[in-house]
């Protein structure tokens, strides 16, 4: 038997193989670098969105409570807000609930003060405090603590209240420091500002 000669079946030279491997290394290095960069970028965007969601949550919590408050007081450093809120819902431990536990969760009827002519819900009010504790933003209602936001991105809410004749308004701004920055930290933080303003719906009592 005679084997036919295949003129095109030739191997690679060492130089060709070296060249091919070099090109392959460059290509794979580019792919890996791109993948890492994309992963890092994704991580940064994910962080940004996650923190932004928390920004909005802080604003919404504050807005909700300011609107239904009777008094809004901001600390000198603008980072602690104290609100006095009507006790619309009977809570465990309230006088009515002690005598009749089934009333827990029920709505109160209003009363009219014969001395001040003010409409009240119950004889006491709730005190809600917004404060910062480390990386967490806390909402404390009558001693009950809720962490409403927490981030390693240095979330900082600031609040100021301005008293008017019958009402007052609270201005709120929440910023954070994104994990990817271009050097100017102050500008990066400023660029994340979420701002809101809310008026007391009730007549200001303090």
């Amino acid at each position: 038997m005679k084997l036919r000669h295949h003129s095109h079946q030739s191997g690679f030279t060492l130089a060709e193989i070296m060249m091919a491997m070099a090109i392959a290394v460059v290509i794979f290095a580019a792919i890996i670098t791109a993948s890492l960069a994309m992963q890092k970028s994704f991580n940064a965007v994910d962080h940004y969105f996650a923190t932004h969601v928390q920004q909005v949550r802080i604003i919404d919590y504050l807005n909700r409570d300011v609107k239904r408050a009777l008094i809004c007081t901001t600390s000198a450093d603008h980072q602690t807000v104290t609100l006095t809120i009507p006790k619309y819902i009977i809570q465990s431990g309230d006088a009515e609930a002690v005598s009749n536990p089934s009333l827990v969760g029920a709505m109160r009827s209003p009363t009219l003060s014969t001395t001040t002519s003010l409409v009240n819900y119950g004889t006491t009010t709730s005190t809600v405090v917004y404060s910062i504790n480390g990386a967490s933003i806390l909402r404390t209602e009558d001693g009950l603590v809720t962490t409403i936001a927490s981030s390693t991105d240095q979330l900082i809410p600031t609040d100021a209240d301005t008293e008017l004749i019958n009402t007052e308004y609270s201005t709120m701004a929440v910023t954070f420091h994104p994990i990817f920055t271009s050097g100017n930290v102050a500008d990066e933080r400023t660029g994340t500002t979420v701002f809101s303003l809310a008026y007391l719906r009730n007549k200001r009592r303090g």
Partner: protein, 510 residues
Amino acid sequence: MKVASTPNERGNVLLCAICTIFIISLIAANVLLNCTARYNQASNQVRSWNEALYAAESGADMAFAEIRKTLPGASPSPSPWTGWAPSGTTYVSPVTGTASLPWTFGSDNLQARTVVETCYFDSSGVFHLGANPTGAWPWYRIRSKGTSPLQGLKRTGMDDRLSNGNRFVANGSTRGDGDTLLRKIDFNYDHFIATYGPNGDGTGKALQAVNAPQIARRIELIVGAVTPFGAAVEVTTSFDGPGSAGLIDSFNSNNGAYYFAANNPSDPHYADSHSGSVAVNSPTFFMHQGPIWGDVSTNGGNVLPSNLIHGVIDNSVPLDIKPFDMPSLPMPQPSPVAFNSNTTITPASPGSVSAPTTYQVSSWSKSVTFNQSGSAQTYVAVHVTSDFTGQVTVNTGVHVQVYFDGNMSVKARDLVNNTNLAANMQFYGIKPTDPNTTQTIAIASPGNFVGTFYAPSAAISFTGNPDITGSIVGKSYSGNGNTSLHYDRALDNIGEPVDYRVASYVEDIR
């Protein structure tokens, strides 16, 4: 044996390319998925949650507009509660559409459902539904529910990924974490009806499916009448005063007679002493050397903080005081028809707040004394169709309202109120026929005065050093001598309503 030729062996390159594209696509898809979820949460859910409150407040605003149509002298068209579903003293929206459908408005199809209940507070301040049996002006309770359809994907948030994976645990009764604790979304069932019942009172709980994901928010407003005397001074054009030896402060006659307590925080009446407020619906506010122990508001003025104003200053507060029309009163007594000689009036019957014993006189130039009818509290109204230049004495147990068409010029000692309660001697200046005419009310020394003036068309001036206890509402106020004015906080509930106000606002955040 013959081996076939394979001239194009490039499969591994294609495979590598596909794998690379696949990996990069996976990363991109992951980014996209997460961004979409974040957008869904940060945009749609937040928007719907806020819009639900806008809807609830819109429903309350529409209810408030209906309530204002019931004010004395209002003759709105259509009449109050047109289109609402009345049931006794309760009114249920809508005003448009069919009874089974709530208001729908806005580009996002927001819905509002509002219930207005007539109510009152008894003498102890206890709340009751229904009309006040005493005939006093009603209060209203507005309960409004706003609903916003939730756009976008039917997803909860990504709270578990926040805080580096630490889930938020609010308290023992939490229904969720993070955002779901704040924004209670009804994806399949109305959680409020299921947990608290449709009215939130625990009755009628049911598992009620929702047509589409939605967010609902509920508010409750208590609406009460605005009475004429809500501040020490309310004027539309200008304020001038108080002088160096004068002051404006307040007290509450329900808690005892007046004495100066405004500079003593430990005084038990200190809290009542800082309501001597002045409101001007113009920029014109002239301050002299006397202190004001209360708030100051102007409409476009430039009042600056000073050690003479012991309250809040606000230069952007519009004040609406409408000219005062003669109210409808019971038929007047046949006599007297003029107070041209000294007269003593002892009504045959005591009358009531809503039906006082009424007199209409063509002039009042002499002294008139009003006595109690027996031992009952006695209510008297006098309509003077010309100027008031006489004297009046109101004795214990008598409540007098004087309506005058012309001007008034007297000395403070001519206005004797032996009840020592400002609410018991009220003067009302009726608007002139010619709207360009300004009434004048001039009170001079000597003497003091306990009473009120409600004369939106009048220039009211005090000269000398009268000590006034009560409240002044007019076109302008001048008290730049040594006049002192002590606002009585008990006046806050006195007189016919001139408007309604939201006395309380709460949100049911359950």
